[in-house]
């Protein structure tokens, strides 16, 4: 027996999901996350799973939680910044915006490196890449001395205009390396070749800040896994929806920053492929947040303007790494309901978390959460939560809502249905943000719902959005981990090159595409990918001359230049009109060339569904909605065979989740065991 295993290191728990490729059997193991040494928690779940090292023929880990925690808590390496003379305060000046308009005590995000550890060296290239002043070796040597004196653990090199010519960054690294040996060094151009000095510098700094920790984690994980007998080359999830090797993951850990929730998107893509649909809106509702993203004809969107910590009232930290475009809002099972100054009911973003958890857990929580609302309204079975692992106490849920009921002068049940409605409305807005707001009509999409809470909200959301079909994959609670097993190696390269778009410049742009592709080939080869398993996608960021912002426009390579030129222009105009309601007759410009290289790796396939033997019998219970009370049938998912059909209203239960089927909706079980709901 060989298995593929994925690890998801969360804030509270570390999950292992393993799939036996032949039998299709799932193995799911959970243990506590060990923040003092994350590798330990991973090894714990691997041991607990009973798997032998040599059985594992694919292994995917995550560093997301570690990277995010180090950044949000600002606990990382003592990092030195080396930058161009005249620019050491860029990190502190930032972009000077006051996001919190009316707060006259606003505090900007604190820079990751204090001024004392930001050093300037004499050097300068201009925006075309021409050298104006050579790099001063003496200045760099002085910085090397300072690194020793200060006990630096990591160095970021970020020079002004380095996106157009990285040679000084490379020279600087070489000099430092000679003096400082193995001290980790991050160069800004390695991570981003886009203009804007603050954004690129900050990206380099954040990478350097987390690098020693991630390096230690992946190194010790690799050693331990080898000791357990693992022979294969292991991978780590990246934020762009692909994986990279551990080795690459140690150099560019910032790429892992938002890799946690991406498994679900890849999983949805895989499920969609199996059942013949490429248009999907994902819905992932966990304990604290709901996440949604859009897949258009089999492609997910990449966001290149990612930011850590940005809120309505804080400008956050920009990070120039490609991240799968996922919109996340503070509405999950643990989100707390409250009443504001004006007496209006609100939900989230504060969550009861895992400790103490929702009131109905009976672990000391007294605030009313969404999970409490579902218990109170009868959607959740108090005796069958997590398959009966936790017994829920409806009385405590009721008590929690009564506090708000008093303030609002309505019944606890009304508050609970109101809270669900508000959480739903927040999710609708998030889902519109990824669909309608970007010019997509949700009616042409299916929802793939997962996470413990996704299937509870999905059918209601589908109605609100006009979506016709909801897909609930198997074991929705661990679907993200399953999705991680379906990823390819992936590397993104973005190079800024601002040119008027014509036949002549098209040739220059294609030369850049060739260079970046060659670089990608090398990296993938180093990671053990064969040439025939490599695939490329190319996107130009295009705009009308004079505009600043761009529309990412896919480029299909091949054919005569003139034809390519015309096709790109037409595609751009269509997208511009879709998003902004107008087109112009002006000439076009290209700003960035974005090459994505995929390295195919051995992946799983979907397996046919064999229903469990011990499915529980059908029962029924009272469920309340804002429309009143109804007696609803309750079915055990494990008892449903492929081809089975259910007419709503009904509640479908399984250990990690609950699916709500409303009246007028019908459900069918496909041959893979997915629930397909026609709304």
């Amino acid at each position: 027996m060989t298995v593929r295993a994925a690890i998801d290191v969360g804030g509270t728990f570390t999950d292992l999901c393993a799939l036996d490729e032949r039998s299709g059997e799932f193995l799911f193991v959970k243990d506590s996350t060990t923040p003092s040494d994350y590798a330990k928690g991973v090894i714990n779940v691997v041991r607990k799973s009973g798997l032998r090292g040599e059985q594992i023929d694919r292994f995917i880990g995550t560093g997301s939680t570690m990277v995010i925690n180090a950044l949000t808590e600002m606990k990382g390496a003592k990092t030195v910044l080396v930058t161009t003379k005249g620019f050491r305060d860029v990190l502190e000046i930032q972009r000077s915006n006051r996001t919190d308009l009316y707060n006259f005590r606003y505090a900007k995000p604190k820079p990751f490196i204090p001024r004392r550890l930001r050093y300037e060296v004499d050097e300068r290239v201009d925006s075309t890449g021409m050298e104006l002043r050579p790099l001063s070796k003496d200045d760099v040597l002085a910085v090397a001395d300072a690194c020793r004196r200060e006990g630096a653990e990591s160095v970021a090199v970020a020079f002004y205009n380095a996106y157009s010519n990285p040679s000084h960054e490379l020279q600087c690294r070489d000099i430092l390396r000679e003096r400082l040996g193995n001290l980790p060094i991050t160069m800004s151009h390695e991570l981003s070749r886009e203009w804007r000095e603050y954004e690129r510098t900050n990206t380099a700094v954040m990478n350097a800040f987390v690098q020693p920790r991630v390096q230690k984690y992946l190194t010790s994980l690799e050693d331990e896994m080898k000791r357990l007998g693992v022979r294969i080359r292991m991978h780590v999830m990246q934020s762009n929806g692909g994986v990279s090797t551990f080795e690459q993951g140690m150099k560019t850990p910032i790429y892992q920053v938002e890799s946690g929730p991406i498994g679900g998107v890849i999983g949805a893509l895989t499920v969609g492929k199996a059942i013949g649909t490429g248009n999907i809106i994902t819905l992932d509702v966990g304990g604290t947040t709901a996440k949604t993203s859009l897949i258009d004809e089999g492609n997910f969107k990449i966001n290149t303007e990612y930011n850590i910590g940005r809120t309505q009232f804080s400008s956050g930290y920009p990070v120039k790494v490609p991240v799968v475009d996922i919109v996340e809002i503070g509405a999950g099972g643990g989100s707390i309901s409250w009443v504001d100054d004006l007496g209006a009911l609100r939900v989230g973003p504060v969550s009861a978390g895992a400790e103490p958890g929702p009131a109905c857990y009976g672990k000391g929580g007294t605030e009313p959460t969404i999970t409490d609302a579902f218990v109170l309204t009868g959607v959740l079975d108090p005796d069958y939560f997590l398959g009966g692992e936790i017994r829920l106490e409806p009385e405590l849920a009721k008590k929690a809502f009564e506090k708000l009921a008093e303030k609002l002068k309505i019944s606890a049940m009304e508050v609970a249905t109101g809270a669900i409605r508000i959480a739903t409305a927040n999710m609708v807005n998030a889902m519109k943000l990824v669909s309608v707001r970007r010019g997509y009509d949700p009616r042409a999409f299916s929802i793939v719902a997962f996470g413990g809470g996704g299937p509870m909200f999905a059918t209601t959301l589908a109605r609100e959005l006009g979506v016709k079909r909801v897909i609930v994959p198997r074991v929705p609670g661990v679907f993200s981990a399953w999705g991680m097993l379906m990823t390819d190696l992936r590397h993104d390269y973005i190079q800024t090159k601002v040119v008027k778009f014509n036949e002549e410049t098209l040739r220059d742009l294609m030369a850049i595409v060739d260079n970046l592709s060659a670089e990608a080939y090398d990296r993938l080869a180093q990671e053990g990918t064969k040439k025939e398993d490599v695939r490329f996608e190319v996107v130009f960021d295009v705009r009308y001359a004079g505009q600043e912002h761009t529309v990412p426009t896919r480029v299909v390579i091949g054919g005569p230049d003139k034809k390519m030129l015309g096709e790109i222009a037409r595609r751009f105009a269509r997208l511009h009109n879709k998003q902004y309601t107008f087109t112009l007759g002006d000439p076009l410009e290209v700003v960035n060339v974005h090459v994505t290289a995929f390295g195919r790796v051995k992946k799983g396939r979907m397996v046919e569904w064999k229903p469990g033997e011990k499915g529980r019998a059908t029962s029924s219970r009272k469920v309340y909605t804002e429309r009143g009370r109804a007696i609803v049938r309750v079915l055990d998912r494990d008892s449903l065979r492929a081809g089975a059909r259910v007419r709503g209203p009904a509640v479908i239960e399984e250990p990690t989740s609950t699916t709500i089927l409303r009246s007028g909706e019908t459900l069918r079980v496909d041959r893979f065991g997915n629930l397909l709901v026609e709304v």
Binding site: E92, I93, R105, R115, W195, L342, L408, G546, Q547, E626
Partner: protein, 580 residues
């Protein structure tokens, strides 16, 4: 659906967040499609929605100074065309300072939104158009004496009628501005952004029904008023006054006195500006609408900084100014550097109230927009270039925190300083330095002010013109509770071997190799500097914010050559004069 009245509360909430989202969507669309850096990079614009009567219902983030004017511009259009005078697809354009504008560059487009033939709302965006003609490149200038020198005036006119563009208007604009492609490109983007927002309004009106949306809008404003009154009752009541001085009248060196008397009761928040100077000769006049907008900004800051803004919030506000004064100029007064006085409306109230609410207000900040224009014809492309931008400076220290360094002024908000790398690609300019202005320092205090910035622009083109206005150059910002004053804003121009230090310049001709050094001031300090924790003073020295000498002089903290606080020496030094 059986809707109980309480369920309607939930619907109200949902509609309110949709209204805000519609404004935000317009906001994003404008920046994404604009052709001038002042819009797409700086985000010098604001977007909002009003009801059919022109009362503010929702706004997106943006420039606070603009946000407070959106309703007045809309009402100006309604006043001209009448409530029934609009058709679907109309878009009005206006920029008249005296009735509803600020300076001529700030153009407001107003679009009525119809759903099922009923006028539901107006979608409104005010944005800074880079070039609108006038006496100098970039239109706004510091040496005008009449409005006619500052660009084109658009009385409310329909730029689009039933979706059809007014071709004659467009031809007029094309013929009168120096950068027609950029200006007209912005006009397209500006109008399109309104349509993007309208699309969303249409969508949720269809979903909830127009009547439900109407009653939700009424409720939103009523709730806004309720909240404002609630907060008003918790403010310290009484009469508070502050005075200050504007550097000059724009043309001569005569300073202009400004004064505010703030009266807070259970019912009203009154700002009386009638003790302020006469309308100025130069362009520093703050049009009435800008004055009110600046008053709204500070009202919001002291009542409800984090709540959504709407008409209801401002019903408790009463602003008084006399015609023909600096805060309510009459035609044809020039207004193109209006922020130099407008900012004082916010600042005077702030200064009067700060000691009474240190939990909300810091000491004074650098105040001026410190706006600059560098423009000309690019040698490389033979096309015009113009970089129009505000500069950031130091904010004041506050109870428990040092001031922020390099932050945009109170009139600006979600406003970004240009990326220097972007400047160098777009414009024939080299940025040689972009750093904290530690040389001039900041207001000392138990919690010190933040630092201003230094930015060096080297002209890399055969020609360039430079216009700038840096206020608070002669009268730096105020400290609080014993903290020191801030430092001045100014700039230096190095032409060949000549150099000068100035606060204002209009269309100065520069040549290749000339250098402009922009220097903004530090914020005021909070509290007695001798009470500053020695550890904080040491950290400031190690970080290079202040020198060892300044530590000793300003803070009475002695730092030894090993970079440690000499506790004993510090103590005895502080004993000799326990307060500064």
């Amino acid at each position: 659906m059986r809707a109980t009245p309480k369920v309607d509360e939930f619907t109200l909430d949902i509609i309110q967040s949709n209204l805000i989202a519609a404004a935000e969507e317009s906001f994003v669309a404008f920046g994404r499609t604009s052709k001038s850096p002042v819009i797409y990079e700086v985000l010098d614009y604001a977007a909002g929605l009003t009801d059919a009567k022109g009362r503010l219902v929702a706004q997106a983030n943006g420039v606070p100074g603009f946000l407070g004017t959106l309703d007045m511009a809309t009402q100006d259009c309604i006043g001209k065309f009448g409530e029934g005078g609009f058709d679907p697809g109309d878009i009005c354009i206006t920029n008249v300072p005296y009735t509803s504008g600020t300076h001529l560059n700030d153009v407001t487009l107003v679009m009525p939104v119809f759903v099922k033939k009923r006028l539901v709302a107006f979608s409104t965006i005010k944005g800074h158009w880079s070039e609108l003609g006038g006496m100098h490149f970039g239109s706004w200038t510091s040496d005008s004496t009449e409005i006619y020198q500052e660009g084109m005036i658009f009385p409310p006119i329909k730029l689009f009628e039933r979706g059809k563009q007014n071709g004659a208007m467009v031809e007029m604009i094309r013929a009168n501005v120096r950068t027609p492609t950029m200006t007209l490109g912005d006009m397209e983007a500006h109008a399109a952004a309104l349509r993007v927002g309208a699309r969303r309004i249409d969508e949720f009106c269809n979903k909830y029904g127009v009547d439900v949306v109407f009653s939700a809008i009424e409720r939103i404003m009523r709730n806004g008023e309720r909240l404002a009154r609630l907060r008003l009752r918790n403010l310290p009541h009484g009469r508070f006054t502050a005075e200050d001085t504007v550097d000059d009248d724009g043309i001569t060196d005569t300073p202009v006195p400004v004064k505010a008397e703030v009266t807070i009761t259970d019912e009203e928040f009154t700002i009386d500006l009638r003790g302020s100077g006469k309308q100025a000769k130069g362009s520093i006049n703050s049009p009435w609408c800008a004055t009110v907008s600046a008053a709204r900004t500070i009202l919001k800051a002291v009542t409800d900084p984090h709540g959504p803004s709407n008409d209801g919030n401002f019903r408790i506000l009463n602003v008084l100014a006399s015609d023909g004064t600096i805060f309510k100029p009459i035609p044809p007064a020039p207004t193109s550097t209006y922020w130099e006085s407008m900012a004082f409306v916010t600042d005077l109230v702030w200064k009067a109230l700060a000691p009474h609410m240190p939990e909300k207000l810091s000491a004074g900040h650098f105040l001026s927009v410190c706006a600059t224009i560098v423009g000309g014809i690019d040698d490389r492309t033979k096309e015009p270039f113009a970089i129009v931008e505000p500069q950031a400076g130091g904010w004041g220290g506050a109870d428990g925190k040092d001031g922020e360094s390099g932050l945009v002024c109170s009139g600006d908000g979600e406003t970004y300083i240009m990326s220097n790398e972007v400047i160098e690609v777009r414009h024939p300019i080299l940025v040689e330095q972009y750093s904290l202005n530690t040389e001039d320092g900041c207001g000392k205090g138990q919690f010190r002010g933040g630092f201003g910035l230094v930015k060096d622009y080297r002209i890399n083109n055969s020609n360039a013109t430079f216009t700038a206005s840096f206020g608070r150059s002669l009268y730096p910002c105020w400290g609080m509770n014993g903290g020191g004053k801030g430092t001045p804003n100014y700039f230096e121009i190095y032409e060949g071997s000549q150099s000068k230090k100035v606060r204002k310049v209009a269309a100065e001709q520069l040549a290749k190799g000339d250098l402009i050094r922009l220097k903004t001031g530090g914020g005021g300090g909070f509290g007695d500097p001798f009470k500053r924790e020695p550890a904080r003073v040491l950290a400031d020295v190690i970080d290079g914010y202040i020198s060892v000498d300044r530590a000793r002089e300003d803070y009475r903290v002695v730092i030894n050559p090993r970079m440690e606080v000499d506790a004993q020496a510090t103590q005895s030094l502080r004993k000799t004069r326990p307060t500064s």
